[in-house]
Symmetry: C2
Subunit: 310 residues, 2 copies
């Protein structure tokens, strides 16, 4: 932890947040609430999102083009869908301030590093990151200043990354309440394939399966959704473009986990067909332990106790 | 709606609840809070559960054996796991009061009717039922008097069921805040296979898949569970025996829906492998509409606005 994170001094001067949706607006809210930077510039190619951010007074300045936002920025936080990272990095590269730090909140790290990394000029540090936090809602209204409190925020620098920049980014998100950890990009992508990408893929699938039922049945699936389906519709209500990009950019890890999942599902399918109740009960007892572990790790609620304010 | 449901008079005299877990204790709490019966007898073969129910003062009397509980009961509500229904119906049959009504909260209706129905003596009405409500927690402490407020409660009588009994059971659960609907047992089982049984099966599977990862990866799956996996662990924390019984008793409908789900998952798997982002985005956009429908139907939260008290 740096001195500035102890004393409460701002850790960076000007922060530019590129993309002011759920995560981007949460970053803007959090760094201001916790005094982590002196000034926030919000950039978003959507005029609607930018206007809404202005109405919500989320930043000190508002621009459409990322290239305009970064000229004065000491830290740039990429919060757009993953698919845009390469083009944005390329567009903003000539305008970056020497000594600036770039980081991001993308859910896949290997592909992001490959897409954005080559465009980052010498003298600018790139510290890839990913907060394990968020909700299914989209847009500037969906953010929260406490979204990161008690949540893990993973950084995936490699041996070439400037250590001073990593320390400052660590201090920045620690100030916002996050538990910052470092790991290798490919390990991150593998773990997240299980904890986030596969759950989303499956939720999207089952909601689609239900959607394809006919007439009355489809209506009743909605009406009687409180028995478990409800939770899947929540997950499957997440941003379509953000999630399209995640699957396309973490293809190998997702396909590998999906293969394991399919094998396990076939095992249960067979147990149901042949009435093997002991196999079902044995698995359901083991999975219950996992739930207890999640509760012990205090990762069972969307927001920490008492904190959900904007 | 009967007169008694309008006037606030109790709808039944003595209610016996068989099984005082999450749903059974919610039934006991609800009928007392809303003055739907005069007296509640709780039965549970688990001495621990029964003692806890006594400490919580959930009922007016407490007995271990279902056969002891039903002698004075005007209405009997079966709230045990499904697998016990046949044996319980058989054991209590000789002790039932003439004119009594039996109902249940089982998540499968066809198999329950087949198992319990033949044991019900002449002069006693059997009205199969299922509230689309509940949480993943188990035991007498987990219940809530408002669990059924704003939730659907499905009854599946057939053409032989006594209509007066159906009306009284309808009035009972309406008084507790539920939206009571009638449908055919096999239709119920098919819809619930999609909205509840398949989501649980899939949640159990994915949590099991994650559990089988090795060492550090398994730990990190817990620590970084906030990205979607968390919700699956909640569902997969449900009672193992209750859910074993549901799958074994709704085998055909679950296997049919599982087949459709697997086809749809294979379609998405192929789209990811071949980088077909348009197919992913198209599905994710459709599923988002389903989420909006669930919110419009006010089925998106575990408890209705403001109500979650015991």
């Amino acid at each position: 932890m740096t001195a500035s994170s102890d004393t409460g001094e701002p850790i960076f001067g000007t922060l530019a947040v590129i993309g002011i949706g759920n995560l981007g607006s949460s970053v803007a809210r959090a760094v201001r609430k916790y005094g982590a930077v002196k000034r926030v510039i919000a950039a978003d190619l959507s005029a609607d999102a930018l206007n809404r951010a202005r109405e919500l007074r989320l930043a000190d300045a508002y621009v459409e083009q990322p290239s305009k936002a970064v000229a004065e920025a000491d830290i740039v936080v990429l919060c757009t869908p993953l698919g845009a990272f390469g083009a944005i990095a390329q567009a903003m590269a000539p305008h970056l301030k020497p000594g600036a730090v770039i980081t991001d909140v993308g859910s896949v790290k290997g592909a992001v590093i490959a897409a954005a990394g080559p465009h980052i000029p010498a003298g600018v540090a790139f510290v890839p990151g990913h907060p394990i936090a968020g909700t299914e809602k989209s847009g500037p209204d969906a953010g929260s200043s406490d979204l990161f409190v008690g949540r893990y925020w993973i950084l995936t620098p490699d041996e070439t990354t400037d250590r001073a920049a990593v320390e400052k980014v660590t201090a920045l998100w620690t100030r916002c309440g996050a538990l910052v950890e470092e790991m290798k990009a490919d390990y991150h992508d593998k773990v997240l394939a299980v904890t986030s990408h596969l759950p989303h893929l499956i939720a999207y699938t089952i909601v689609g399966t239900a959607f394809d039922l006919e007439g009355q049945e489809q209506q009743d699936v909605i009406r009687f959704s409180a028995g478990g389906f409800r939770d899947f519709t929540r997950i499957a209500g997440s941003s379509p473009i953000m999630w399209r990009d995640i699957f396309l950019n973490n293809r190998e890890a997702v396909l590998e986990m999906l293969q394991r999942f399919s094998e396990d599902l076939t095992y249960l399918q067979r147990a149901i067909r042949w009435g093997e109740g002991d196999k079902l009960q044995e698995l359901f007892t083991r999975t219950r332990e996992v739930r207890h572990s999640v509760i012990e790790a205090k990762q069972d609620k969307p927001f920490p106790e008492g904190g959900n304010g904007k």
